[in-house]
Subunit: 183 residues, 2 copies
DNA sequence: CGGAGGCGCTTTACACTGTCAAGATGTGCG
DNA sequence: CGCACATCTTGACAGTGTAAAGCGCCTCCG
């Protein structure tokens, strides 16, 4: 799994290859299949780990923020973006659902956990079990959509201007963009 | 290119294969390479076509909407989502930058055109040439981030509840989510 | 103490992929 | 006719994911 993360961060998700991972781990080409069954299984495990780490990051940010609801939200959004920027390959993999096993219970649980951190912070502590299309979720979905979309655009280099750090603009733009989020 | 679109809509971007496309088009495996040089070249051409179609859709929506700025914005967002839902594979391909040739001038021009439609509608007709990280773009970036993120979440089935149309929830949720966008 | 079982891995094989170099086939034009 | 050109095919090669079978070694248990 370490080799997978390294490879993905280095060459991007499209540059992943099961055999290359095996090579880097110093084992035979089919050794990974024993543990993960598939390329899909391995990638799913890595993505799950990613969602857990993201959830941890959000939890930490919430704990360290003050009591102001707005400040909390900004802290969460900041933590979200930082995770995406610091784990480019992993974050992009987490949304390549065509490569992942969406029937894996552990994986979907990790994803739901990450979202529920955000949801709890946005809608106050009224974290009831709701259907994913419940209209009451609208504020959280708005926040999630904006931050997720912004992070993906940043990773795709949409804010890059010629010369300089490709991710720096994202950091300075995020607060300005969040000005337009009303929750 | 038609065969590519069909294949991608049917099996998703990950299910694409140059040889399968050639098979469907009734030509030899290497015939596409003559016209597009690469798999990358073919996919870039298809993605470019996608951005042009998206731009057309946005332009049409703007033309048909009234004079109210807010109404115009909602119409554009609606058109954006409809394009994504109706062209699932194509839309996802358009953001798989690792598979595309980002040095292709035609391609980046098509992308910029689509964004500029949205930008002009959001910030009024003050469409000056600006750097992509210009703070003045913040409102447009906020809108773009939210709608783009929302569309991707919808395509990933994030709003799917058991039973029923997987994309229907997105249509009903979009207006509720846009309530939280302040431009 | 000794055998059974299984875990972790390797070997071998197969079908499939993208790409390259070279050759075939037709079509239009002087 | 003859030549050039666009379009496509053929053949080959390295690389890929996956399946089946086999091999060594450790652990547990009688």
């Amino acid at each position: 799994m370490d080799a997978t993360v390294a490879l993905i961060e280095e060459r991007g998700v499209e540059g992943f290859s099961l055999r290359e991972v095996a090579r880097r781990a110093g084992v035979s080409p089919t050794a990974p299949a024993y543990h993960f069954r598939d390329a899909r299984g391995l990638l799913t495990a890595v993505a799950t780990e990613g969602f857990l780490a993201l959830g941890d990051g959000l939890a930490a940010a919430e704990a360290n923020a003050g009591d102001d609801r707005r400040a909390k939200l900004l802290a969460l959004a900041h933590a979200y973006l930082e995770f995406a920027l610091a784990n480019r390959g992993r974050y992009m993999l987490m949304w390549r659902k065509g490569l992942l096993d969406m029937a894996d219970a552990e994986h979907v649980a990790a994803g739901q956990r990450a979202f529920s951190m955000l949801d709890r912070s946005v809608r106050g502590n009224a974290a009831k079990r709701v259907r994913p299309d419940d209209p009451a979720l609208a504020p959280s979905l708005a926040c999630w959509s904006m931050v997720h979309g912004f992070a993906l655009l940043a990773l795709d280099g949409a804010f890059e201007s010629q010369g300089g750090d490709p991710v720096a603009p994202a950091r300075t733009l995020l607060p300005l963009v969040l000005e337009h989020l009303r929750v």
